[in-house]
Amino acid sequence: MNFKINRDKLFRAILYGSAFFLIVLIFGFFITFILESSESLTKFGFGFITGKQWDPVDGHFGALPFLSGTLITSFLGLIISFPISLMIAVFLSEYFYKGFFHNVIKTAVELLAGIPSIVFGFWGLFALVPLIREFQLSIGIEPYGVGIFTSAIVLSIMIIPYTASISREVISMVPTDVKEAAYSLGATKFEVIRKIILPYSGSGIFAGALLALGRALGETMAVTMIIGNSNSMPTSIFSPGNTMASVIANEFTEATDSTYVSALIEIGLLLFLVTALINLVGKYIIKKTVQF
């Protein structure tokens, strides 16, 4: 008897310990970032976020081009990816919920999630960049090939599995009797999907999109290879640019003086905060919209 109680206590202690450990870890993370970027933080203050110029040789460290780069590529990627992912999810859960076709597409989506990002980078570089260059030539703009738009497309493909698989899961959780009620009133399959299934699974789908966005915000390798690594403010979605993650990856090994290193770490801190902020806002929206 006593032994059983003790074991229970021990188990609880381990659970508490693990949870506590995680909090300490995140806190420690945060402290390290702040300490390591303190030089840049004190030197540039808020101007770091609003500064449009990043010129380490002249000592200009403004991160706005990268902040914009990250937000534009990620949101654009999400906008392109979302409808495709949602259609895949609906297709898998309502039209082909079993059988050969279902398995082929489901496996393809799963494979997509397992492809290393450097492979996406190569694919973007060798397959997509020439196409985009053609397109840019045809509409008469500077044919960079690489850039924000190219990155957004590659990101949109990379994040499909996140929205698609979570959406598929929540869509398949819509109770059969609720769907049947709609059919019994004379609704067509399309009407049931649009007016019953999607509203029911809306917040879950939103959570999937949020996860996908988080993935896009932090994606480093593929984007670094195809965004063009330009440090000036993007002027159009076809401009070459840099994201927060790609500029760190690209310049960290070259950063020689301490201000430069500290500024790059501050970009890391900024990325951390932006991701956290978007997640918090998303969670808040989900909470506000869950109605049942």
Binding site: A181, S184, L185, A187, F292
Partner: protein, 252 residues
Amino acid sequence: MENQVLNIQNFSFYYGETQVLKDINLSIEKNRVTAIMGPSGCGKTTLIRAINRMHELTENTRTEGIIKLYNEDIFELDPITVRRKIGMVFQKPNPFPTMNIYDNVIAGYNLNGIKLKKSDKDIIVEDSLRKSALWDEVKDNLYKKGTFLSGGQQQRLCIARALAMKPEILLLDEPTSALDPKATSHIEELIKELRSYVTMLIVTHNMGQAARISNDAVFLYLGELVEHGKTKKLFTTPQDKRTEEYLTGKFG
């Protein structure tokens, strides 16, 4: 026969290779309540789900014979049309959880993309809720979620939702089996009152309920229609030995 709403002729039903309804013949008259009785698994649900072609949502089902709604074979109509004309109430109350009470009642129109003026909708909603004896209880909370209602109220909401489409027939599949006795008797009263508006087919394995609310009764056994007649007659002088055994509790 003018009064004949539904006429089922030589109807058989198969799940894959298994035949679960065997050569059913049944005609239903207007503004009457017909109880479908029979032991569990005898095919009651299958029969009423075939009447509004809900069985087509299940894979591998096949039917033989015809089911006429007035003079048209439902299998020659569009299933959408059939389902708008034949309403259904399910075993477990299933209001739409994303919608408020008002939208639940008018859902048939919204789902089908039928545009109505707000004033027309208001009339339909109030009328349907009055018919389902729910109006007084919910009239001040029309814009609250239907899922906050009690089980019995939810089931009456589902009845209102079906009535809103002004169906020719209302199919009810054991509508009280998930409810407590008080809610059950409330629904039974309601069904008696609704008779003047709509023809009803109600599946029940509660014999008392069948006796209380139905005009006619059908006894199904192992997929066969054993007996059909006036409820009183079927209960007092059953013609078939199997009906008698069922009524005296020998099986089911």
